[in-house]
């Protein structure tokens, strides 16, 4: 990323592209966006990475986190436009990322945090988090796919929400 920020190195960008483009594209498809639109959105996300590379700060987050936030913002915009809701929030989202205090996540702090979370959550909880918050599936859909009762999904997700507090210290 440094090579892109400092030298506008296109080869370095192509590496990021090769790694992330298929994953971002999959993210949009998982969020029930059709393939024509998903590729268009993927292009917008990676164009942002190239154009706004100066906004990325490795002290604030991992690169994958920053790219996730861009993809998420594009997704929000896409669905707002689709349901004709006239409200843009990309600027607000970018403001929050910029505003984030650097000392909140010191070097490697993010990594440690993820390790801690990975240790505390079991496989099924991780899958549930991914399905609920990454793929934005309803609790009902999660219950159907995992073949467990809806009540179990609700209580387990509630448990994760409560537990979250403990990962921060």
């Amino acid at each position: 990323m440094k090579r892109i920020q400092e030298d506008r190195d296109e080869m370095a960008f192509s590496e990021i592209f090769d790694f992330f483009a298929p994953k971002i594209n999959a993210y949009f498809i998982q969020n029930r966006i059709k393939i024509e639109s998903s590729e268009e959105l993927t292009q917008e996300v990676l164009s942002n990475v190239w154009l706004k590379s100066n906004l990325y700060d490795s002290k604030k987050s991992a690169l994958s986190t920053w790219i996730f936030t861009i993809a998420r913002n594009k997704k929000i915009d896409f669905f707002r436009k689709k349901s004709k809701i006239n409200f843009k929030e990309e600027d607000i989202r970018e403001f929050l990322y910029q505003d984030r205090e650097v000392d909140l996540i010191e070097e490697n702090e993010a990594k440690k945090q993820i390790e801690r979370i990975n240790n505390e959550l079991d496989e099924q909880q991780k899958i549930m988090i991914k399905m609920n918050f990454f793929e934005n599936k309803s609790h009902k859909k999660i219950a159907d796919e995992l073949e467990i009762p809806l009540g179990t999904v609700k209580s387990r997700i509630r448990h994760i929400l409560t537990k979250m507090q403990g990962f921060l210290t």
């Binding site: 483009a21 498809i29 986190t65 997704k75 006239n86 409200f87 929050l96 993010a110 918050f133 979250m164």
Partner: protein
Amino acid sequence: MNGTVVRNQLIFDFASGLLGPAKSIFASTYLQLNSNASKISSAFENMMGENLMDNENVHPKNLKYTDCIKNKNDKSTSNLKDPVTSFFGNLNDLDWKQVYKGFKEYTASIDDKDELKLIRMEPGVSVPLHSHGGKEYILVLEGSFCDEYGEYSKGDIQINDQKIKHTPIASKDTGCVCLSITEKDVIFFGKYGSFLNLFTFIKSFFKQK
């Protein structure tokens, strides 16, 4: 549902992009003013970033990296502002509506089913004992208030549901400005709207007894 769960749900839903416009403004202001909430949100986004790293691959068919370098249509980022200022502008310039002496509110016009409001209470002013139709979220922007459940200052959030009855009082020294979201069960609009809302308000008083 306890407060922590509802609060974290709000943060997670915001970070996942699941909220409507009104709650998005509310949540982003909360993250800006409350460093603990901001930490939870960062941790959560890191988890989402991990999910992206480990995500499966669906290779785009018609996309090359050079397409992303050529594409220059994106606007460049300029003066980013905090959520409240970028949405409401200067709070002193708003057309505040006086509900009663010392209590003013401003309802945002926003494309959403949830209602987004600013509330301004003069020092020492109180709200009569009341309960809530739908869920209500309150975030303190300036000053503080207290009620039967505790004291709330800048960056603190209070979430009230139907079960909660309270009498908030604005701080004697500073008064308070709050941002609120109301999820409404029944909303009355139009010519007789305020009359009907008053009616449900009065009715709720009798329900409490």
